[in-house]
Symmetry: C2
Subunit: 304 residues, 2 copies
């Protein structure tokens, strides 16, 4: 079952109260594809890189069966670059520098050999590009998931609303859900957002876990309680990637499968926070993930 | 198994964005005792009331097998009074008026027939009084639980630290845990707080559920996802009361029992938020609670 992962690939420079990453590879699609590759072999990356992107990183993708035919290479510009600094609480961060670079030239052209994909994950980027990807696909994927952020709600709400009508699953965080719906209460927010299009809505709450809304049902999953969050960058993208990988592996996206996929997503995302960027994600395999899933089960297990 | 519930009994005047309660009965011990009475018959209230407290409310306590021999009646002052107004998000509130009244004369004297209690819940009040209660008991209860708040950390930290050394279970919320420990990370906070005395620590996270810390183990429980929180006043006290009631009923306070007790506590607390003050708590019985426990199980159930 093939999964297209669309989104940014970037260089990040991350500063935390403890450490400084220097310039490392990141971007939503990079995290998501590596996370998904733990569950399924046929992953197709749709992204853009600049003239400074290391071949070694592309080779790593190949080693994980992640195709990059759809990764457009802009030869006269460097890759998208973001520099940010986390506050002491590790929840909030300040953007110190954003250079769009190659991202400005991103055509988001779906290669022929990406057609007939079964699942599609649209990582956070301009809703116009997300829409363009959907429109190029001759056969509609079985499940289209989308991530977005406050920024697009503020400058591209019309296009965001258009793309919401074409997807099945929206994955956003708590503040984004509140902003998109204008509701403080998450149940009310979920009703309004699901009325905009997506049948499924996942609201990520960081250290407090995540909620899945579907019809009149709700599922709540806990996040692992982590003593040392080294770098939270990419954890949300990792969650979405692992979740879609799990769905692609199980070739099902019913409510029960989505619940399990969220648990798998939480497990993989917890690894992401242990080292800078995707460093830890590159080290782990299914054995590590299964063990962490057991820890998650243990965390919430009770008898009454 | 007898349970002493110590704390405030008050008149509250609660204003929410939707409604105005007028003057109603409240106070930590009032909520906690009524919540606990769903699980165990032998509850002994230790509190103070003024000359304006309605006999009908005391009669209600009797109907729930809650003894009030230890409720001191101050004849020349009205009861403790608090008036507050909730913000639109229903999480934050402003105190508009606080009149200590009868609370100033509270002796916290344990009556003879309260001796040999098996369990003790020390609701949020001056740590000096909480300490005085423990010191009066000839036989140490099997489990002493304590609630406190930021206020006492700021004006009575020495006494609070003294009482922490004498208890088994501390139940506080997230911001209180951070303030008491000086740590932003809850796992680090839990280590520091447990080193102050309590073997068990519960950190309440409101709509995000609660965490239980014990030795190197953690348990996470989710809160029900509620669309309309009518009035959150007393939900934390209700949680603590129901939790201690469950423990007293099961005559056990091992880690597994505490986990189940937290789920029972969450279930009962969710009712508290449905109407002003203890109104809804007075209407429910074990059938309602068992049904809500099933809903909580359903909320977090998954197979992976």
């Amino acid at each position: 079952m093939s999964l297209i992962v669309f989104g940014s690939i970037a260089f990040d420079h991350i500063i935390t109260p403890q450490a400084d990453s220097g310039k490392i590879v990141g971007g939503a699609a990079f995290y998501a594809a590596i996370a998904a590759a733990n569950f399924v072999d046929d992953i197709k990356l749709l992204a853009v890189i600049g003239n400074d992107f290391p071949q070694a990183e592309l080779d790593f993708l190949t080693s994980r069966h992640i195709a990059y035919d759809g990764v457009q290479k802009v030869t006269d510009k460097p890759s998208f670059f973001w520099k940010g600094s986390y506050h002491k609480d590790m929840n909030n961060r300040d953007s110190l520098d954003t250079q769009l670079n190659a991202l400005l030239d991103f055509k988001a052209t779906v290669p022929d050999n990406y057609q007939d994909c079964t699942y599609l994950l649209l990582g956070n980027l301009d809703p116009a590009l997300q829409l363009k990807v959907i429109e190029q696909l001759a056969t509609r994927p079985k499940l289209i998931a989308l991530d977005t952020m406050n920024f697009w709600m503020e400058i591209a709400l019309d296009n965001l609303k258009k793309v919401l009508q074409k997807i099945d699953l929206l994955i956003i965080n708590e503040s984004e859900a509140k902003e998109l719906s204008g509701e403080n209460n998450l149940t009310k927010a979920a009703k309004k957002i699901r009325a905009m299009g997506p049948v499924y809505l996942i609201i990520k709450k960081g250290e407090h876990g995540a909620l899945l809304f579907y019809e009149d049902k709700i599922f709540a999953t806990s996040a692992l309680v982590i003593e040392n969050i080294f770098d939270p960058t990419g954890a949300g993208d990792t969650f979405a990637g692992a979740l879609m990988g799990y769905i692609a592996q199980h070739q099902s996206h019913d409510f029960e499968t989505l619940k399990a996929a969220m648990v798998a997503g939480s497990a993989v995302a917890s690894f992401c926070t242990e080292k800078f960027g995707a460093t830890r994600l590159k080290e782990i395999d299914r054995t590590h993930i299964n063990q962490r899933i057991q820890e998650l089960k243990q965390l919430t297990a009770y008898t009454i």
